[in-house]
């Protein structure tokens, strides 16, 4: 608690210093509103491809933005966007989106039988790090249930072919899961898209 307060007041002083140099300092809201045209109002995406940002932890969002900025992920457009901001601005946006309620897009179609099979896989291989079907921001592991279908598919494909790096432990689980069922990605995406717990 005390630690946090100290950090906050340091930031505030830094903010004032910048202000006095008449440097533009857009607020967290101002910065985050610009993302909504693609990610939905307050980061709640309604599309089937662009992921939601609402409810992601600040740590997760900031890490993702830094990775995009450094060309360490293989995205289509986020590298071009992330290069427009400072790390401090990432922090501001991270705080804004962490304050939003997680959004589940329930307008996407899924196969109920596949979703049921996917649920079993999730419980066995993924639930430990992606609790509550991957809807808890504090896991610092993104959003799974209710996220955009194509984004989930693309992410799994990218982890699989190495164009997006993943934790060793997750890689191990992925391997085991695919060994058990070669259609595991399809099943588990259907589960996430169902939005069910």
């Amino acid at each position: 608690m005390i630690r946090k307060t100290i950090i906050k007041s340091t930031l505030l002083v830094a903010g004032f210093a910048l202000g006095m140099q008449a440097q533009a300092a857009p607020s967290a809201e101002m910065l985050s509103y610009t993302c909504a045209g693609c990610h939905g109002t307050n980061g709640a995406s309604t599309g089937d491809a662009i992921p939601s940002l609402a409810g992601l932890s600040s740590t997760y969002l900031v890490d993702a933005m830094k990775a995009y900025k450094a060309d360490e992920r293989d995205p289509t457009i986020m590298n071009r966007i992330a290069k427009g901001y400072s790390d401090e601005q990432f922090e501001l946006m991270g705080g804004f989106f962490a304050d939003q309620e997680v959004h589940k897009n329930r307008d996407q179609s899924f196969d109920a039988a596949k979703a049921a099979a996917g649920k079993k896989l999730h419980k066995k291989y993924c639930d430990k790090c992606h609790t509550e079907a991957g809807t808890v921001g504090d896991d610092d592991a993104g959003q799974l249930s209710g996220n955009a279908k194509l984004f989930l598919q693309y992410s799994l494909a990218d982890f699989h072919d190495g164009s997006r790096s993943q934790e060793k432990k997750m890689k191990k689980k992925m391997k085991k899961m695919l060994k058990r069922d070669k259609d595991a990605f399809d099943l588990i995406v259907n589960y996430y898209v169902s939005g069910k717990k």
């Binding site: 202000g19 300092a25 857009p26 509103y33 909504a36």
Partner: protein, 433 residues
Amino acid sequence: MSKQNRRSFLKTVGLGTAAATAATYAPFAIGGSGKRVVVVGGGMGGAVAAKYIRMMDKSIDVTLIEANKDYFTGFTSNLVISGQRSLDSIKFGYDGLRGHGVNVVIDKVTDIDANAKSVKTASGQSFAYDRCIVAPGIDFRYDKIDGFNEGVANSKITHAWKAGSQTTMLRDQVHSMKKGGTVVISAPPNPFRCPPGPYERTSQIASYLKQHNPTAKILVLDDKEKFSKFGLFTGGWKKHYGYGTDNSMIEWVKGSAGGKIESLDVGGMTVSGDVDDYKGDVINIIPAQKAGHIAHVAGLTNASGWCPIEGKTFESTIHKNIHVVGDAAIQSPLPKSGYAANSEGKVCAAAVVALLNGQSAPDPSYVNTCYSVIAPGDGISVAMVYAYKDGKIVKIKGSGGLTPSKTFNVKLREREEHYGYSWFDNITNDTFG
């Protein structure tokens, strides 16, 4: 929904300047009077400004006056022309805005009196404002092409640069064109609404013809020497439509090579420049443009035909207390696009909220993106992040740019197509939802 709406709101309003930061956490009086906003035009810029003012400060009374009860998006309308989408899928209404407490009035604004601070409509109503936001989009300079006018556009030679019945008219003309016929597209001079738009249209019509009328041709007559996403479009045309070969479905004629069009002969279905005449079976003329009519009536335009604004607030530099956002404004280096209008609408909304609460306008941040679909499975984009510096809107160096095109990356192009569709869902929901 925000977990901490109130806190967010206070932060937004308060972070104008370092000095205002002190006021951030101090409560301020929320009074009823002196906080009336009238928004003229419920398109991409106006609707989002109205919604976000209400999201930021519910004590502000917002009236939005829009001429039509249904709005059709310009973006994605090219996919209606190729038959990939229905007109219904690009149609939006105003119930979402009503849900945010915006007083939506379907009526046409006929006058804005900057001195009396009041807006008048065709049905004789009048609305007083403390701040007015004008977002009427564009109008056409028909007079630049001899023989072209609104009557001709409504009956035979489309512009299809405001979506709706124009879109379906062009679609039906293309779909019923004789085998091996020619579609002539005349592309406008800068500045105009949606710089990549004419070339996305060319691509979408080509995509339709390739399937249904493969010996047909598209002749693009351009006022300019080059155009937006030039390499990506011409590269895509090469890949999908034989561009550059004798068998190319698409031919592009630049201004200096005779692409500049000066007159139209409707009966002869011919357009002419100072060098050549071109006959078409379907002719689509995207005329030169200017700010929407009401901006001229209200005296908000300068000699360029567009509205000069201050980039931090989008307040007119001609009339106080009137802000102009979207295509009608001179927003360069931001382009005239739907995403830019969205971004401008929010910056303007935050400024209006702050100013009406006696604070200084907050520091802005802006983004633009534009997705285009060249063919099924082939999406491309351009993006840029902007800041406000030394009194100007500036591009942030190192940010933004085009879809990489050194090699044709199939995975990337497929994803961009789908992300583009998702963008459509989100930006329309952000505006009208």
